[in-house]
């Protein structure tokens, strides 16, 4: 081989180094990583990040020292074939004891915070930073979507979990089929879902925002599209969301049409939760003739067999995702697609194309029918 070997030798390490630098910088740079473990936005994730960063610094220091020693040896002790035999050293007890003890000591610096953090994260706090009792949310895993239940509020929803900022969330998990793993990197680490025992996790969101999460335990065909969001709302926004869920109804048309703009609904009156809700967009949407058509289709095309449009009441485990407030959700198909009219229509008409293997069969829907359904679902705010 007549390769310019000197050239290789001189430029490759530099090139590799530059490449690594680019990669490292790109990783640290931005706010464009909403699913990042390196940018925690909740207390659990911060505890984990703190102990992780400790190990990162230790590991980096050791990495540099040991690789430097290796490189030094490689360059310092280059020999020629006819050099005399080097001194035959068989070992050194002192040196070997030193380099057994030093790593052990370094490990102690990692081990202590590790155990501390294990115990800190294991205990679900009795009260939130805001003084309230933690909010319980039950997570039920399904192939391939997430059911979220709020036992204290009586609310059921799917794929988008709303939580109030500053209030600790006490998550209790189970699966109805195979194992899954619940993971919102910016808020907390993973916890697996089992069919035969409840697993638990907790976190407190520190900043309002939309945090993407994913199933992290391989769960079959559509594991890749079993995503979800945690919507950390300000307490006021969260209360408003709760109020809207209380008010969800299947037959939106007569109700919405009957309500004049800027007044609150009867359900909200009863609970006193609805200060901010305005129903004018719903009322406007209700003027659209497609909405009535969509409602009819929803009830006749088997949608209602698996999906409920009411977030309150309902069976202990859903067959399909609860659709209360579907019109206002960010994503559809378990966090996979933006909830635009075109995407929703495409999803309704071709669920097997978007997400092969889902239970939702391809009900034959004409364009007009699909558009009517979309218009109807859009009223579910």
């Amino acid at each position: 081989m007549a390769l310019p070997r000197a050239l290789w030798r001189r430029h490759l390490p530099l090139g590799l180094l530059a490449l690594f630098a680019v990669v490292v910088l790109a990783g640290c740079a931005g706010e464009n990583y909403p699913q990042s473990t390196l940018h925690p936005k909740g207390d659990f994730a911060e505890l984990v990040d703190a102990v992780f960063m400790k190990t990162v610094w230790w590991a980096t220091a050791i990495f540099i020292l040991v690789e430097a020693a290796l490189l030094y040896a490689i360059f310092k002790f280059r020999g020629k074939p006819d050099d005399p035999e080097p001194k035959q050293v068989h070992g050194s007890t002192v040196v070997e004891i030193i380099w057994t003890v030093i790593p052990a000591a370094v490990l102690a610096f990692v081990a202590v915070p590790t155990v501390q953090t294990i115990f800190k994260t294991a205990e679900i706090p009795a009260s939130s930073p805001d003084g309230q009792k933690p909010l319980t949310v039950e997570v039920i895993g399904h192939q391939w979507w997430w059911e979220f239940r709020y036992p204290e509020l009586g609310i059921i929803t799917a794929n988008e979990m709303h939580v109030p900022v500053g209030r600790t969330v006490d998550i209790r998990m189970k699966t109805v089929d195979v194992l899954h793993s619940f993971w919102i990197p910016q808020l907390a680490g993973k916890r697996d879902l089992f069919p035969n025992r409840e697993t638990r996790l907790w976190f407190t969101a520190k900043e309002a925002g939309e945090y993407p999460g994913a199933c992290a335990e391989f769960c079959g065909l559509q594991h890749g599209k079993m995503l979800f969001y945690v919507m950390a709302d300000t307490p006021a926004d969260f209360d408003a969301w709760v109020a809207r869920r209380m008010q969800d109804s299947v037959t939106v048309v007569p109700m919405a049409a009957a309500i004049p703009s800027d007044t609150v609904g009867p359900a909200a009156d009863a609970t006193g939760l609805m200060d901010t809700l305005t129903v004018s967009p719903m009322a406007q949407a209700a003027m659209d003739p497609r909405v009535a058509e969509g409602e009819k289709l929803f009830l006749t095309k088997a949608c209602a067999g698996c999906h409920s449009l009411k977030a309150v009441g309902g069976p202990p485990v859903m067959v399909g995702p609860n659709l209360g407030g579907i019109g206002a959700r960010r994503m559809i198909a378990a966090g996979w697609m933006r909830n635009t009219d075109e995407n929703l229509k495409h999803w309704l008409q071709n669920p097997q194309e978007v997400k092969e293997g889902v239970l939702m069969a391809g009900y034959t829907l004409s364009d007009a029918e699909a558009e009517a359904l979309v218009a109807y679902l859009r009223t579910k705010q």
């Binding site: 490449l19 931005g30 102990v51 290796l70 050293v89 068989h90 070992g91 057994t100 195979v178 697996d192």
Partner: protein, 622 residues
């Protein structure tokens, strides 16, 4: 057998010489030929696993891609993992066990030559059986870890996971038989004077690896039997509705699975510990510490399995125990790395291709080791587990570790195995392309994982910041594939060259370099006597030479070697038939279908014939 039809005047040796090449290789019990076949088949499966990896990387190059279906993707990553672990890295190590162990300990063969042939054929047939699933479009699709209940009958109907369960069961037989064989060989067949603490480090690594095999494979065997019973006979060991528990599978799997990691890496440690002293012209630094650290790693390897399960929520006490136990492994592993650098220190380093790969191994393994310590921090692992950070970590250990070391071993022992030297220029080109491709593929995965990309997803949405890292990894993977082509080119070039390798091209310290390249069938004309560690260096020093004179090939007169036999191959076919039968026979209707029964009878018959086969010491030359 062929001999029965031959004229009585024809000697047996002549008869053997007349056997076709194919028959010769199918019936051989020569550890060297078996080693070469292990290597060739393992490399074949390695290429298949590599092609699977390339398709995976092509699919992940861009977000929201639709190059392959989710079903095929799941088959690809399941088979990539299963293939690389059981059909590539383990048998590539077995190639060196087979070819080198008898030579390194000064023996003429292994303790059980026919059992050795059986291990090979069971492995080959098991590997072909697993891969045959692709021909039916029903390759395993539940991950190499086969977690229940996804791997059970309810959620994985069809033959996919049957192929996996039965295939691994077949491969386990090969591993266990080889484990018994090499454990016995090393303990009983060492040259006179070769005490345990005079054994070359690769022999130690092999011995400890066999202990791991013998203790951990029974666990996966039991787990697979339970899963097979669930799938085929409707039992409920892992079925919640029947009182079973999916956690049981995880514990059984990882009690095997973690020692398996050391089964993959300890032979690599051994190879590196052979190569560094030779190319530093200086003995291994801290031999005893290297022996005990290997043993300690193996011992601890049985006490850390649950660090694969931190996210299951085992509670703070269990998490703490398995965190701390895992961290302990860093100590003996660190000792090894320091001792390797200590071996280089003050040496006269000779930069040949094996040395390049050995040094590359150390540099990359440090990285994989350190990211391993990061996983041992249980809370941090809650963020890392099942992400691309873990994928990056174990590829630094298994590719940057095992594969680089096995490649170093290939360059180092190639002249002994084939009597020809691999090309140095191409070898170094191979090294640099490997290093670039490897790091470009796997380094960015650390970032993809820390930025939140889960493993085993067939696609990912854009907008999460994974795109760049995935594209880099894909480019790197194809570069890495190119480096494998360079190696294949090197092999072909060497094959066609007529230049012969000397017996001792590197100035070796171990017994294999005292005999011709390639060795005669009987290895050693006279059984060697060993009086010290690095025995051959001692001989050279005593003779006052740097290189031993080229050995004169002996005629093998009076040396009795075991004769070839068909029965190991027939037993293997019987075992294959026994397991395949479970797929055809619908055993839940009737537990013993004809194919299974045939396999059982064939195996029994062949073992009987094997046992009563004449000890037929076919003298190589009377």
């Amino acid at each position: 057998m062929a001999t029965t039809v031959l004229e009585p005047t024809m000697t047996r040796t002549a008869a053997l010489a007349k056997r076709s090449v194919l028959v010769d290789w199918l019936t051989t019990v020569d550890h060297k030929k078996i080693g070469i076949m292990y290597g060739a088949w393992a490399f074949f499966f390695f290429v298949i696993g590599g092609v699977e990896a390339l398709i995976i990387r092509a699919q992940l190059a861009r977000p929201e891609a639709t190059l392959v279906s989710p079903e095929f993707y799941n088959q690809l990553f399941t088979m990539h993992g299963t293939t690389m672990i059981f059909l590539a890295v383990m048998p590539l190590s077995a190639m060196f066990f087979n070819f080198m162990i008898p030579l390194l300990i000064g023996a003429r063969d292994v303790a059980f030559p026919r059992l050795n042939a059986m291990s090979l054929w069971v492995f080959v047939l098991g590997g072909l059986f697993l891969n045959a699933s692709f021909l039916f479009g029903t390759a395993p699709n539940g991950g190499w870890f086969g977690y229940a209940p996804l791997s059970g009958r309810q959620y994985s109907p069809g033959p996919h996971m049957d192929f996996w369960v039965l295939g691994l069961q077949i491969l386990g037989i090969a591993s266990l038989a080889a484990g018994v064989n090499f454990f016995t060989t090393i303990l009983n067949m060492r040259a006179r004077g070769m005490t345990l603490m005079r054994m070359p480090m690769f022999v130690w690594a092999t011995l400890i690896t066999q202990v791991l095999v013998l203790l951990s494979f029974p666990v996966i065997t039991v787990a697979l039997i339970l899963l097979m019973a669930d799938r085929l006979f409707g039992s409920g060991f892992f079925v919640t509705a029947m009182g079973g528990d999916p956690m049981l599978w995880q514990h059984l799997f990882w009690v095997f699975g973690h020692p398996e990691v050391y089964i993959l890496i300890l032979p690599a440690f051994g190879i590196i510990s052979e190569i560094l002293p030779v190319f530093s012209r200086k003995p291994l630094f801290g031999y005893s510490a290297m022996v005990f650290s290997s043993a300690f790693i193996a011992f601890l390897g049985f006490g850390v399995w649950s660090h694969h399960m931190f996210s299951t929520g085992m509670g703070p006490l269990a998490d703490s125990f398995f965190s701390l136990a895992t961290m302990l492994i860093a100590i003996p592993t660190g000792v090894k790395i320091f001792n390797w650098i200590g071996t280089l220190w003050g040496g006269s380093l000779q930069f040949k291709t094996p040395m390049y790969f050995a040094l590359g191994f150390i540099a990359m393994f440090i990285m994989g080791g350190l990211s391993g310590v990061m996983h041992s921090v249980a809370p941090a692992d809650l963020q890392q587990t099942d992400t691309y950070f873990v994928v990056a970590h174990f590829h630094y250990v298994l590719f940057g570790g095992s594969i680089l070391a096995l490649t170093a071993g290939a360059y180092y022992w190639w002249p002994k195995m084939f009597g020809k030297m691999l090309d140095e220029g191409l070898g170094k080109f191979h090294f640099w392309t490997t290093m670039i491709g490897f790091n470009l593929t796997f380094f960015p995965m650390h970032f993809a994982g820390l930025l939140g990309m889960p493993r085993r997803v067939y696609t990912y949405p854009s907008g999460l910041g994974f795109d760049l890292y995935n594209l880099m990894a894909t480019v790197g993977a194809f570069f890495l594939a190119f480096s494998i082509l360079v190696f294949m080119w090197n092999v072909i070039k060497t094959w066609r060259s007529s230049e012969r390798a000397p017996a001792d091209p590197w100035g070796g310290a171990t017994l294999e370099w005292t005999i011709p390249s390639p060795p005669q069938e009987w290895n050693f004309d006279d059984e060697p006597v060993v009086t010290e560690r690095d025995a051959v260096w001692g001989m050279k020093r005593a003779a006052g030479v740097r290189m031993l004179p080229e050995p004169v090939a002996g005629d093998g007169k009076g040396i009795h070697m075991p004769g070839p036999s068909w029965w190991p191959l027939v037993v293997s076919l019987g075992i294959l038939s026994f397991f395949v039968g479970f797929m055809f026979d619908k055993p839940w209707a009737f537990p013993f279908g004809p194919v299974t029964v045939f396999g059982l009878l064939l195996t029994t018959f062949a073992i009987f014939k094997w046992a009563y086969e004449a000890p037929d010491a076919h003298a190589t030359n009377h």
